[in-house]
């Protein structure tokens, strides 16, 4: 799938199929190495599941992709540039991290108005994304009264405000009810079919299995498997869960 949209803050040509390019990322903390030589790509039109147990390095990897944490070595490019190289990055990448960083005293609509101001999106976009995530009716209630699923929907709405070409979502399914999950899967598939790229971090294998085209498995800070879901899972006898457990509970030997 080619991404051919030209944007005001950069040049995208129909050769921009590599939406995310992580190359040899490494990050050390005082407690040890969190991410070690992590490389993978996410192409336009694909949904990539980033899998791994808690503490495997998924969130640190995502933070390095987004410039929130500096990499000790390696690089991460978003359509050929570092994230910080985009003039209006939220128009390029929509993200859901930490359940969206919602202040409990604000309403959902107020939160989205702030995001729209940050994104330089028109005010009407707030109503559009509220409708898109089916939160229009609850938009003027304080976030403190929201369920976890409602917070996730507002966080997703915030990610969509800038009409991005890439979505990077860290555990976006947390708290979503079955209908919410169904909506999320459909929304992400439509997004990818429209030429967008999705990087979806999760430790819920069934969620990823139903939506991802490709998977990247991280364990102990290293990529231990990546490729098309069908191919990778096929090497585990078609059982993603068994394959995943073999990788993450076993040694650090790579399966590529």
């Amino acid at each position: 799938m080619l991404a051919s949209t030209s944007r005001d803050d950069g040049v995208m040509t129909n050769t921009d199929t590599c939406a995310i390019d992580a190359k040899a990322l490494r990050k050390n903390f005082s407690a040890g190495t969190a991410v070690d030589d992590v490389s993978f790509t996410v192409s336009s039109g694909r949904v990539v599941g980033l899998l791994g147990p808690n503490g495997a390095g998924k969130t640190t990897t995502i933070r390095m992709l987004l410039g929130l944490a500096s990499a000790d070595s390696g690089h991460a490019l978003i359509h050929g540039r570092p994230y910080s190289g985009w003039k209006h990055p939220l128009q390029m990448v929509g993200t859901v991290l930490d359940a969206g960083g919602l202040h409990p005293g604000r309403t959902g609509r107020q939160h989205l108005r702030i995001v729209a101001a940050q994104t330089k999106a028109p005010a009407e976009r707030v109503d559009e994304v509220l409708s898109e995530v089916d939160m229009s009716a609850a938009a003027d209630r304080a976030v403190s009264g929201y369920s976890l699923g409602m917070r996730q929907r507002i966080a997703l709405a915030a990610a969509l405000v800038g009409s991005p070409r890439i979505l990077i979502l860290d555990e976006p399914a947390n708290g979503l009810d079955p209908s919410g999950m169904h909506w999320l899967r459909a929304r992400l598939r439509a997004f990818a079919n429209g030429g967008g790229a999705v990087l979806l971090s999760s430790h819920v294998l069934s969620d990823v299995e139903q939506i991802a085209d490709d998977i990247v498995v991280i364990a102990e800070g290293r990529v231990v498997a990546d490729g098309a879901l069908a191919t990778v899972a096929g090497s585990g006898g078609g059982d993603l869960e068994r394959f995943y457990l073999q990788l993450t509970e076993g040694s650090r030997s790579e399966v590529r």
Binding site: R63, L66, G67, L68, A69, S70, Y83, S84, W86, P89, L90, V93, T95, L97, D98, A99, G100, G101, L102, H103, P104, G105, R106, T107, Q110, R113, I114, V115, A117, Q118, T119, A158
Partner: protein, 273 residues
């Protein structure tokens, strides 16, 4: 980003509560120092001056200096070495403006929207500065209203000229704006709400104590020690006796504010979020 930061400040209760508490405290303080004490001194209420003793402060609200002192946004008592509720409200508002983004994750959204983090700090400082200036204006107007009400009730003439009053309002507004930005910087540097509040409380509560002890030991306060935030803010307002002229006080307060904002910008730029 400025608009987003303004929205952050105006869509939470903290600044409104800070202004309300500060204004309420200011009215109470002014009533005590501007109305109650002069009335006690004059014998209008209470046992009379003679019964109150020689230690009772001589307050002449009919004088220009006393009326200008009563216009201070920090309360008429601030120059006497105590920390007023209005000062507490201002610095708490500034600290919380700096820490709430860390507490609720808004700093991540800001960094995603503007990867050049110095610009985040600039936007945050501009928005907080505007709110701080507005707060300073509200506080000085509250003080003015209290003074006007008091002199009217007491049948005193308004000795201060409109130009002098306007000068105190302008300088008071500037001083409150600067203190708000100092507190914002401390909040961003501390990140933790509790740590930020404690550090800021320590700064503003220790300063009068240190100055008092120094004065007791040395018999005077060295000029260098007057270059502390609260002393400089009071010198900028100019209603209390200070050895620092207004331009120097303004430059000193501005330098402290800019230095702390610079440190906050550096920390924001270098930290992982």
């Amino acid at each position: 980003m400025f608009r987003a930061e303004m929205l952050k400040l105006t869509t939470t209760k903290t600044p409104k509560i800070a202004v309300a508490v500060g204004a309420g405290g200011l009215i109470l303080t002014q009533i005590i120092f501007v109305t109650l004490l002069p009335a006690l001194a004059a014998g209008t209420i209470g046992p009379g001056r003679a019964a109150l003793g020689d230690d009772f402060p001589a307050l002449d609200l009919g004088s220009t200096s006393a009326q200008l002192d009563a216009l201070s946004p920090f309360g008429a008592s601030s120059g006497g070495g105590s920390v007023g509720i209005a000062v507490l409200a201002v610095v708490m508002m500034g600290v919380l403006a700096g820490t709430s983004d860390y507490r609720f994750g808004g700093i991540v959204a800001a960094a995603l929207a503007q990867p050049r983090r110095v610009r985040i700090l600039a936007s945050k400082a501009a928005a907080t500065g505007v709110v701080g200036l507005a707060t300073g204006l509200v506080f000085t107007l509250v003080s003015l209203a209290t003074l006007l009400g008091t002199v009217a009730v007491m049948g005193l003439p308004l000795a201060a000229t409109p130009l002098e009053i306007a000068g105190v309002i302008a300088r008071g507004t500037l001083a409150v704006g600067a203190l708000t930005l100092i507190a914002l910087s401390i909040g961003i540097l501390a990140r933790s709400q509790l740590a930020g509040v404690l550090i800021m409380l320590a700064i503003i509560m220790l300063e009068p104590i240190v100055l008092s002890i120094t004065g007791l030991i040395l018999g005077h306060i060295p000029a260098a020690m007057q270059f502390l935030p609260l002393s400089l803010a009071n010198a900028v307002i100019g209603t209390t006796s200070s050895g620092i002229p207004f331009p120097l006080a303004l430059a000193g307060l501005g330098a402290i504010t800019l230095a702390l904002l610079g440190l906050a910008a550096l920390a924001l730029k270098r930290r992982d979020i």
